[in-house]
């Protein structure tokens, strides 16, 4: 029994991991783009980004996931996600990427605005281009500032992946839950918890390493 539970949970973990990884992969750059949008000179763009962030942060991620997964099928009478597991994972990644990009954008904006104006001006008077100032001067200082709040969000993401169960994606929590449902046993639920703890534990170590790597300057 233990073996089959482990096997099943590992299968769920794989789905959880894919949602986690692809969400990060898309949400990080999208969040940076949104952050630049929120700081844009154009009022309209700032307004659009502000509205998007308000809507996404103001409604439950589960609701967004339901709308993105079921919405297209109902509006277009054609399910763009296909009923397969891959389709469910894709829909989850899309919903999560939009959601997390909004949260990330706020963190990025804080990181960029937190770098003193003097840093940019020092670069300017030294004849650097705007992109040189961003990549060679501002970026690393911003990264250092955003690592602690980002580690919070990314750890939350690990656990938010369990929401994908609502559209029947066979992720880790769904895998643990299905044993309770089919066999009436509860220990796989605790076992599931251990998987999350290990996942988050590794991330915690990783973030500690990054913070330590960036501690050589202030």
């Amino acid at each position: 029994m233990f073996f089959s539970v482990t096997q099943s949970l590992l299968g769920g973990l794989w789905t959880t991991f894919q949602i986690f990884l692809f969400t990060l992969l898309f949400a990080l750059p999208l969040g940076l783009i949104l952050a630049f949008g929120a700081m844009s000179r154009w009022k309209i763009l700032r307004g659009l980004v502000g509205t998007l962030v308000w809507i996404i942060r103001g409604t439950p991620l589960m609701l967004q996931l339901i709308i993105i997964f079921y919405g297209p099928g109902l509006w277009l009478s054609h399910n763009i996600w296909s009923g397969s597991e891959a389709g469910r994972i894709t829909a989850t990644v899309v919903a999560f990427s939009i959601n997390y990009a909004c949260y990330f954008s706020v963190i990025f904006r804080g990181g960029i605005e937190g770098v003193p104006v003097g840093q940019r001006e020092a670069g300017e008077v030294l004849g650097m281009t705007k992109s040189q100032i961003f990549f060679k001067v501002t970026l690393l200082q911003m990264v250092k500032r955003v690592v602690p709040p980002m580690s919070n969000e990314i750890i939350t993401l690990v656990k938010d992946t369990s929401l994908a169960r609502i559209i029947a994606a066979y992720e880790l929590t769904f895998a643990g839950y299905s044993f309770m449902k089919s066999s009436g046993i509860t220990w796989p639920l605790f076992y599931t918890g251990v998987f999350y703890l290990l996942f988050v534990g590794i991330l915690t170590l990783l973030f500690r390493y990054i913070e330590q790597k960036l501690s050589y300057f202030r």
Binding site: A122, E124, G127, M128
Partner: protein
């Protein structure tokens, strides 16, 4: 011939006139001190020279080349603006060193980035970087920081940080080096070492504009002095003349505070 000609510079923020009809010239190899109380427009004037602010009126000419003319604004290409900026160096009150780079890297960063635009960069990259490093080390040596090259800014005292900032500004060999209250953020016991470096530069005939509250220093080191109040030049001339025998009542009032 004057290396710098500033004509009728005006600048306002909202409804406040920060600079009003400011004109002066500076000869090559001379040091100009600008004094005046806070809010008199000294810093804004330096920021205009370094293109950190755009004047509303007037013109700035360096070595006969008009860098800025409010009457004939040229839609500035970034590259164009950068080239113009390099006529001036700037040392900030709060240093603004790049915290993630060592003292030496702070000094060499801009030069290395500029070198990438050289046509022979790809073939001679190593050689060029070697020269830049040597140049940076020499500058830090001149600043008395030979032992501090590999230190990060937070490992240095304020006076050391400001000397690194001076070396960084000198690295690009500007025609005119500007100092914006270079010792105002320093503890009194650290101002001496920075002033000594600036004095050394004056002795080597570096063309400089120094905004300062150090009257004795200005009187000693500068060849020319400007007293500003409420955005206008109230009095300018020989530093000993202006500080010891001011002609204007406003200058006299200001100097009694020192």
């Amino acid at each position: 011939m004057a290396v710098l000609e500033v004509k009728n510079i005006g600048k306002h923020f909202g409804s406040t006139n920060v600079l009003d009809d400011v004109s002066f010239t500076l000869e090559e190899g001379k040091a100009l001190a600008i004094i005046g109380s806070s809010g008199s427009g000294k810093t804004t004037l330096l920021r205009c020279l370094n293109f950190l602010e755009t004047p509303d009126s007037g013109s700035i000419t360096v070595k006969g080349e008009t860098l800025f003319d409010a009457d004939h604004p040229i839609e500035g290409q970034e590259k164009d603006l950068r080239t113009k900026r390099l006529h001036f160096g700037m040392v900030f009150q709060a240093f603004h060193l790049f915290p993630q780079y060592t003292a030496l890297e702070n000094v060499t960063l801009a030069e290395k980035l500029l070198a990438k635009e050289r046509p022979d960069f790809k073939q001679k990259k190593k050689e060029i970087y070697g020269e830049i490093e040597a140049h940076g080390k020499e500058l830090l040596n001149r600043m008395g920081l030979a032992e501090r090259m590999e230190h990060y800014p937070h490992q240095l005292s304020g006076g050391q940080q400001q000397r690194v900032a001076i070396a960084r500004a000198l690295a690009l060999q500007p025609d005119i080096l500007c100092f914006d209250e270079p010792t105002s953020a320093l503890d009194p016991e650290l101002t001496g070492e920075v002033l000594k470096v600036i004095r050394g530069l004056a002795e080597q005939h570096m063309t400089m504009i120094i905004v300062t509250h150090e009257m004795a220093f200005a009187r000693d080191v500068a060849d020319q002095i400007i007293f500003m109040d409420e955005g206008v030049i109230v009095e300018q001339g020989d530093p000993k003349q202006v500080i010891d025998h001011p002609r204007e009542e406003r200058t006299r009032q200001f100097l009694t505070k020192y």
